[in-house]
């Protein structure tokens, strides 16, 4: 589904990604772990097309298409979703309005029928029930006054509604207590199916207790220096990144 070949990217003139190679197939969950500054968030922003992140070399193929040619909203239309590390607040815009706009934009891109207000409310209720969330987030403005846990719940809900092909979770576990962590992980697991794939970016192994990966990659100094199965995560937790950072330098 996703093929990253020798990806180099700079931010503010500084090269952060120095030749990333990564392949993700449908039905898989990949974890990317690494120390601060290794380029984890940069990778997620480059994949989703954020301004200010310049690709200097390499290519990214998504379902055979050249992903780097597409605008952010087009990538979303193609089924790419990013659960932000720090979701931004949008005052005055109710969560339901925001989500309905998003869903209809994506549907329009795919030539599908858009949903009206009533249909959308029905869909939303279904998803919140499926995830075990309460309704109270929905009427409030997007992320305004939300606690860290509420923001991550909101990201999970959006993911459920938009039903992406490839979901990138950028340090989903930052700022979460244990219970919130479990809730968010459960929602990810509920959405997992053979047709979609997940790229989970995280510092800590504990998230991977709940979202069990198929492959784990170590990102250090802008390169993937080692890959392995889920046991690699335990090893990193025990020994730290030192061995791998040395290899990358």
């Amino acid at each position: 589904m996703l093929e990253i070949k020798n990806l180099h990217a700079t931010v503010d003139g500084k090269e952060i990604l120095r030749g990333i190679d990564l392949k993700i197939d449908a039905g898989e969950v990949h974890a990317v772990m690494g120390p601060n500054g290794s380029g984890k968030s940069t990778l997620s922003y480059v994949l989703t097309g954020r301004e200010g992140y310049e690709v200097t070399e390499g290519e990214v193929l998504y379902q055979g298409k050249n992903l780097l040619d597409l605008a952010p909203e087009e990538r979303a239309g193609e089924g790419i979703f990013l659960a932000f590390q720090y979701p931004v607040a949008i005052p005055g815009v109710p969560t339901t309005t925001f989500l309905k706009e998003a869903l209809n934009s994506v549907r329009r891109y795919r030539g599908e029928k858009t949903v009206d207000a009533l249909q959308f409310v029905k869909l939303l209720r279904e998803k919140t029930k499926q995830l075990g969330f309460s309704d109270d987030l929905l009427k409030r403005a997007v992320n305004v006054g939300f606690s860290g846990g509420e923001k991550k719940r909101n990201e999970a809900l959006q993911m459920a509604v938009l039903d992406p092909q490839l979901a990138i979770l950028d340090e989903t576990d930052s700022g979460l207590d244990i219970d919130a962590l479990r809730v968010v992980s459960e929602s990810v697991n509920l959405l997992r199916k053979p047709e979609n794939a997940f790229l989970v970016i995280t510092h800590y192994q504990r998230l991977l207790d709940h979202i069990v990966p198929d492959r784990v990659h170590v990102l250090a100094n802008g390169r993937i220096v080692h890959s392995g199965g889920k046991e690699l995560a335990f090893e990193l937790e025990k020994n730290g990144y030192a061995d791998y950072v040395g290899a990358a330098a």
């Binding site: 989703t48 097309g49 954020r50 301004e51 200010g52 605008a71 952010p72 909203e73 990538r75 979303a76 239309g77 979703f81 990013l82 932000f84 979701p87 931004v88 949008i90 005052p91 005055g92 815009v93 309005t97 925001f98 706009e101 998003a102 869903l103 934009s105 994506v106 891109y109 403005a141 959006q158 938009l162």
Partner: protein
């Protein structure tokens, strides 16, 4: 009928005046010749068969206007107005001159109607398509009129009110905005040709929202509209002015005057959505919207609230205001002013607190995009006797892009030690983070801007009557088209 006998008498009176004052212009003509003169003022008055007192009022205003200097203190720039280069009276278009169907109407205009979700029948009305007299519009208006008559509400063109309710008009016309108030109101007083008159009797809650759409006699786009609304004791009315559809006019200067009078325990809610032609991307050819709107809360416990969404015009210059005379009276001003491309706006409000325990609330949202300039100018004045008076002002500016300007000019004058005035202001830009968040969820950059801006304006949009609110949201999005990238 009594009315036509009176009219004939008046015409005879005017005929004689004609010779007395050397009135030259041929009254039979459909359109006054170009230019402005005392003659033209008389012509307008004669065409409308007005009584002597009104002609007199107009002439006094005209003569005063000649002496008044042009105001130039606002933050708007425009070349000097050529008052002689306009027609001050033109007859409604005959059915032959109008488009026969929407096929004959400018497709760009139709595109905008579509975007705003305006139903087909309304589109025809707006585009001036000759509608079959037997058709809907007449019967809709007739039912409407019947409901109003049943409760004693008067809602008619102001020229009709001059004929049928002269005592009311004479009592209140010019009592809130006197002719000498400012140069443009003065001109309006001399040459106004159209506008609404509304009177709500004691204790009556007007059963429906009054909208200029239902005034079937409104065939001329009102360049000098004069509106007068009087709410008698204990009454309530909600009035909607304008529409979201873009309106064009050959005449560049639009200087309307709106006067509102609320007596004891009465309430007037006045909503405006204005989308006059703003000119091309370089600001050429747009309309100048120089309006004087003022509400007098004469009675105790009276309330007047202004809600406006201003997105059009090359230049918008207006300060809907409230004079809070009656004790416990309340004035409110909710505004969204959007400027894009080369538009300019200098708009705000004046809240004059005279009575005790009077309250005012101001929520002004200004959005600038393109190379436009938007200024909020507000005055809160607490009179010496305004014990316990209180004002809260919140004005927020949002900048889209980096070539536009937003300015705030608050005036606070207080002569009462106990009066409270609170002012909050914010200036912000739409953040990259917000736009990226929306785009990552599938929205285009323009849709993202529209969404964020609608969120910014939400508090004001919620004040609009339902029909307007939905259209206004769409209008906000459309006004910002082309402002990004």
């Amino acid at each position: 009928m009594a009315a036509s006998v009176e009219t004939v008498d008046r015409l005879r009176e005017l005929e004689s005046q004609k010779y007395r004052y050397g009135f030259i212009t041929d009254i039979e003509a459909d359109t006054a010749p170009k230019g402005l003169s005392e003659d033209i003022v008389r012509f307008i008055s004669a065409k409308k068969a007005e009584p002597a007192w009104l002609l007199d009022w107009r002439l006094k205003a005209y003569r005063r206007w000649l002496e008044m200097p042009e105001p130039d203190w606002a933050r708007v720039k425009f070349p000097p107005l050529d008052y002689q280069d306009a027609y001050y009276y033109s007859a409604p278009k005959s059915p032959e001159d109008r488009p026969k169907s929407l096929d004959e109407v400018d497709p760009k205009l139709l595109e905008t109607y579509e975007k705003l979700g305006i139903p087909l029948r309304e589109q025809e009305q707006l585009a001036g398509v000759a509608v079959d007299a037997v058709f809907d519009s007449v019967s809709v208006a007739t039912t409407f009129k019947k409901n109003l008559e049943a409760v004693g509400v008067i809602f008619c063109p102001i020229s009709e009110a001059v004929q049928n309710h002269p005592e009311l008009v004479r009592k209140y016309l010019g009592s809130v905005v006197p002719a000498g108030d400012n140069k443009h109101a003065c001109l309006n007083s001399a040459v106004f040709t159209d506008g609404s008159f509304v009177y709500i009797p004691k204790g009556v809650r007007c059963p429906m929202e009054l909208s200029t759409y239902f005034r079937i006699n409104a065939q001329n786009t009102g360049q000098f509209e004069r509106t007068l609304i009087v709410a008698d004791e204990g009454s309530y009315v909600s009035y909607l002015e304008g529409c979201t559809a873009p309106m064009r006019d050959e005449n560049q200067l639009h200087a309307a005057v709106v006067e509102l009078v609320a007596l004891d325990d009465a309430e007037i809610k006045y909503s405006t959505v204005q989308n006059w032609y703003p000119g091309d991307e370089n600001g050429v050819g747009g309309i100048y919207n120089f309006v004087t709107k003022r509400g007098a809360c004469r009675g105790r416990n009276s309330k007047i609230s202004w809600t406006q969404v201003e997105t059009g015009s090359a230049i918008t210059w207006k300060y809907p205001s409230c004079i809070l005379q009656g004790d416990n009276s309340v004035g409110e001003f909710y505004s969204i002013a959007i400027t894009n491309n080369c538009q300019q706006a200098d708009t705000g409000t004046k809240m004059i607190h005279l009575g005790k325990n009077t309250r005012s609330r101001i929520v002004a949202k200004g959005i600038s995009a393109g190379r436009s300039q938007s200024t909020y100018r507000g005055l809160v004045r607490m009179g010496a006797k305004a014990d316990g008076a209180r004002n809260h002002t919140q004005c927020d500016s949002l900048l889209v892009g980096d070539r536009c300007g937003a300015h705030t000019v608050p005036y606070i004058e207080s002569k009462n030690r106990g009066a409270i005035v609170e002012h909050e202001a914010t200036t912000s830009r739409i953040s990259e983070d917000q736009l990226f968040y929306c785009r990552q969820r599938g929205m285009s950059e323009e849709d993202a801007v529209a969404l964020v801006v609608n969120g910014f304006c939400r508090e004001v949009l919620q004040q609009l009557p339902m029909e307007f609110a939905v259209e206004a949201q769409k209008l906000v999005g459309i006004s910002l088209e082309g402002s990004v990238g």
